[in-house]
Amino acid sequence: MRRRRGLAVLLGPPMLWLVVAYLGALAVIFATAFWTTDPFTNLVVRTFTVENFRELLSGTYLGIIGRTLLIAVLVTVLCVLVAVPFAFFMARVAPRRFRGLLLAGVLVPLWASYLVKAYAWRTMVQPGGVVDGTFGATPGYGLAAVVLTLTYLWLPYMVLPVYAAFERLPESHLEASADLGGRAGTTFRRIVVPSLLPAIAAGSVFTFSLSLGDYIAVQIVGGKLQVLGTAVLQNITLDLPFAAALGTASVVIMVLYLLAVRRTGALDNL
């Protein structure tokens, strides 16, 4: 009996936090999405309507959702393409004594403020900036700049799990593959990739969800680009229920994504 009480004291506060602050807030967002606003004062009027969701399914907003998804997918793919060789080098090629240093190198950018890094990219991609000066051209503010910036920002979250997966990959598996006549390519495809997949999926949960919800970097380097986050921001002052409906859309996308990721078994690796 005493033990049970102790357990209740231990678990009570975090449970309360989870249920009230976290799930409660989600529930309120969802409920708000069914309300409307006063046309003059923009105050929330609590009458039930599905108008917000109908509007969400109009071409304009489907376009925004599609564009946001595209950015999240591109950022995730780019992060994978950079992180896999990098993590491979860190875990398998580099001498053991440098690994700590390399790991620190990956983590150091996380010490700098997000805003500083985003503004750094703003000056880098502007006409006459570093990118322009080095490559003779710059994508300017827009989708490409957003993808670049977000890839830079979230890369550590992909490198870490992939690095851990490479570390865990037993040398014997690779040797067995070679002994059985597998070439490097075959070994990579049939041994390395399957054992990396859960780690990549775990990393993608971060890169995908962070890109999906980002609006600050988009405002800084996105030019006139409109994504889910900026659309929420724009509506939050003028039409809170519609902003809530937009928020619901990103929650739904994330839930679907997490369900898909769970099937890979990646969530056991987090």
């Binding site: 249920v19 009230v20 799930l23 409660g24 807030a25 529930a27 309120v28 409920a31 606003t37 006063d38 046309p39 003059f40 004062t41 923009n42 105050l43 929330v44 009027v45 609590r46 304009t60 907003y61 376009g63 925004i64 000056t123 502007q126 006409p127 006459g128 900036g129 300017g140 503010y141 030019g223 006139k224 409109q226 659309a231 724009q234 509506n235 939050i236 002052t237 003028l238 039409d239």
Partner: protein, 405 residues
Amino acid sequence: MRTSRKSLIGTVAAVAVLALAGCGSSTPSSSPGGSAAPGGMQVPDLKPLDKLGPPEGQVNVLAWPGYVEDGSNDPKADWVTDFEKTSGCSVNIKTFGTSDEAVQLMRTGQYDAVSASGDATLRLIAAGDVEPVNTSLVKNYADIFDALKMKPWNSVNGVAYGIPHGRGANLLMYRTDMVKPAPDSWGAVFDQVGAQKGKVTAYDSPIYIADAALYLMTTKPELGIKDPYALDDKQLAAAVDLLKAQKANISEYWSDYLKEVQAFKTGTSTIGTTWQVIANVAQGEKAPVEAVLPKEGATGWSDTWMVSAKSKNKTCAYLLVDHLVSPKVNAQIAEFFGEAPANKKACAETADPNHCRVFHAEDEAFFSKIRYWNTPISACLDGRTEVKCTDYAAWTKAWTEIRNS
């Protein structure tokens, strides 16, 4: 497992219901005591402060950038520190970039006073966020230009809701080294962009639709727009089309004035709408920019200091507002922001003796060409009765559509 999951869902549902029941009543009760204003607006029945008490020790003020400066942005711009010492009210400043943001922030109830433009004042009044002001408690009210007192945007049914602060026009700013010849028409950001394609900037708020409507007043007289804030469906559609076409030439939309300064400095934006203060800051940072009033006239603002109905620091709020519209300080703000002061005695206090003349402080003929920001409502503001005009909700939807097109 099954039962615990069920009970979890039950808990979540219960919490959700509780949260919904508890989340404050955001709908104002249009009480029978409230009075109706023109346009069918219901005004909550609130009373102004009857006398000043002892200063509460602090005041939280919500202001346009440049209105309340304590020297932290520019050491030379400081009219708050002295006030804090003499009044016993420490001043906490929060700036905002658009009227919509101001309305949203005022609604939190955390701010005691706000500098509201005409497109925010009526919304704040109708929602009961601000209360009438007792002008006899503001010593300097007597010296404010009569042309600014008791206007449709700062009073309702003969009750004053605020203290006029100053007024000015939204200008056209351009890079003198990149935009040649110098523009004299808003066409330079709409249909005669020319070489500045992809380098135009525009203000990121539904109220910017009025800028397009203003341009259409001269270029498409057949639309019959008399007031850029009174647009029927057809006129709004024409303005929206103009803005959608403009979007192809836009580099960025701005609402953060520092971002606009940076964009002009680096040349990612070379032409677009601005405030005088932004042009001043950009010139101060050695950007070759100039700001002009185009021949079509311009939209503009006439701002009002208002006191929050939920304020706990009303005495300090009154003291601060009185200080801000006092001749010396009002002159400083007018020069720093680049606008016409509201206090007539301020004209004698400006560092540049010509300031009031340059900014037309006493020139009502000039300001008749400036279309002050106003809140569009369904009853046409230009007096038409045969059609219904588009209200701000329609403008908001239209703006979202433009931004997302």
